[in-house]
Amino acid sequence: MIEVKDLKKEYKIARKSDGIAGQLKHLIMPRFDTLEAVKGISFRISEGECVAFLGANGAGKSTTIKMLTGIMRPNEGVVRIMGKDPFSNRIDNARKIGVVFGQKTQLWWDIPVIESFNLLKHIYSLSDRQYSQNMEKFSSILGLHDFLTQPARKLSLGQRVRADLAASLLHEPPILFLDEPTIGVDVTAKQKIYEFLREINREKKTTILLTSHDMKDLESLCRRLIILEKGKILFDDSIEHLFDKYDEGTSLEQIIIELFENGN
């Protein structure tokens, strides 16, 4: 389903010294450092798997997801989504995936949320039946009914994320990428989201790859864990295997902290 081999991505970041003098100097003679965000990672995810991406801030999780979704070109390495390169087949690839970036929204800011959904129906050429069935199902599980007529700018963060999740799944993509999908969501809504994800993973065999900082939820949803640290894969196996390596009773949180500290 997803194949990644020796994937690398570098960013150019401006090197500025402090203060006004530093800013002025940069204005005249800009200097850039290259920052290796992803340093050659490889993995494979098969159909119906649910994989969690874990890593400290700046470990390269989002960068990897952006390359997998075909919006960013890798510097080196190969990505294959269902056998094809996502960057050069962007439009084709977009039909097969659903994506949620918890920090951004695909909903239209100033028009009612329902219009955004209606637009998605046309973009993905969904039949009336498929559309109303999915809308009905998603609205009841995620509790969207209350705010469908509101414009997105009036929603709370949690409501917005729930609507975004429904929007990314309306066309029933075989692969789902979630970058911090539970950001700003309250505990009960979070439960609903994870139940919902479990259900589509089981029913439709949707392959899910998600990043989150919420370990308890990851534990309940995913069997496999990929831990990234400074652009490299530190661990890639089932959660049970990770627990096996440590004393009984150690929580996932403690293990992660220990891993990161050793990694440094």
Binding site: I91, S116, L119, H122, I123, P151, D179
Partner: protein, 276 residues
């Protein structure tokens, strides 16, 4: 028969996709109505000021570079009409989406990015155009009456006006792509606006430019946005010239969209939003 059906079906679906964007663009335009109205008012005040400046100029002189007051008082209003669609506010929001990185959400849709923008703009522009057309049309008629109107010219004018919007869109698209490199949405859109206002004839008819400058402007695409439709409407172009100019507009659209495609290929390769 079956083959034909197969070919038609995906095609119709594709069109439906983009039509849905017109609807959303229209709704968005309505949601931004206060932005639009203030923007239009600013433009309109500019048109009124120009109207009176020209009026006082023509009080001293009957003819300026071949333009009489009779022609000029039409030109001012028609130029305003041509300039008021595809407004700056919309362009700013597109540019900002690039700078902020929200453009990745647009790229995650199974559609051509430019096509999506075009139809979305068309929806917004449709709203703007309807309002402006009514306003300018009624003012034009009170000032000038129906005596200058002519069926064939109006038809040619509308064609030129539409093609002019096409040129404007191509230029806006190219400029917005520059945001991938400059990270400055305001500067880029402002630069675009000033360039088009000056070289398209929005402020001064191009015929009044100094000789040298006029020859340069003739080789730029901007004249197609305002000067061409204006001249067709007020009759400074003969019918033959009008048709030639319309063909030239079409050629510019082809050329500019080709350039936009090439630039787009390069620009989307440099997307590198840092974070997370």
């Amino acid at each position: 028969m079956i083959k034909k059906e197969m070919w038609r079906n995906p095609c119709r679906k594709n069109i439906k996709k983009y039509l849905a964007y017109i609807r959303c663009g229209f709704l968005e335009g309505c949601a931004y109505r206060s932005t639009f109205i203030t923007g239009m008012l600013a433009n309109f005040i500019q048109a009124i000021v120009l109207y009176y400046v020209w009026k006082s100029i023509f009080a001293y002189q009957d003819v300026v570079n071949g333009y009489t007051w009779e022609i000029m008082r039409q030109y001012v209003f028609v130029a305003f009409l041509c300039n008021s669609v595809f407004s700056m506010g919309f362009e700013m929001s597109i540019a900002e989406r690039i700078v902020k990185g929200d453009i990745i959400l647009d790229l995650l849709k199974p559609l051509s990015y430019r096509g999506m923008l075009f139809f979305r703009m068309l929806g917004t522009a449709g709203m703007e155009f309807a309002v402006t057309f009514l306003l300018v049309g009624s003012i034009y008629l009170t000032v000038n009456g129906v005596r200058y109107l002519n069926g064939i010219r109006i038809l040619l004018f509308l064609t030129a006006l539409l093609l002019g919007m096409g040129i404007k869109f191509c230029i806006q698209y190219i400029f917005s792509l520059m945001c991938f490199y400059t990270d400055n949405s305001y500067g880029v859109t402002k630069a675009r606006e000033i360039l088009t206002n000056f070289f398209s004839g929005a402020l001064i008819p191009l015929a009044m430019f100094p000789d040298m400058l006029r020859r340069i402007v003739d080789y730029l695409p901007f004249r197609g946005i305002i000067y061409t439709p204006c001249c067709i409407f007020i009759g400074t172009f003969s019918i033959h010239d009008s048709v030639l100019n319309i063909l030239m507009q079409a050629a510019w659209i082809l050329l500019l969209s080709l350039f936009g495609t090439l630039l787009g290929k390069k620009a989307f390769g440099v997307i590198s939003m840092y974070g997370g």
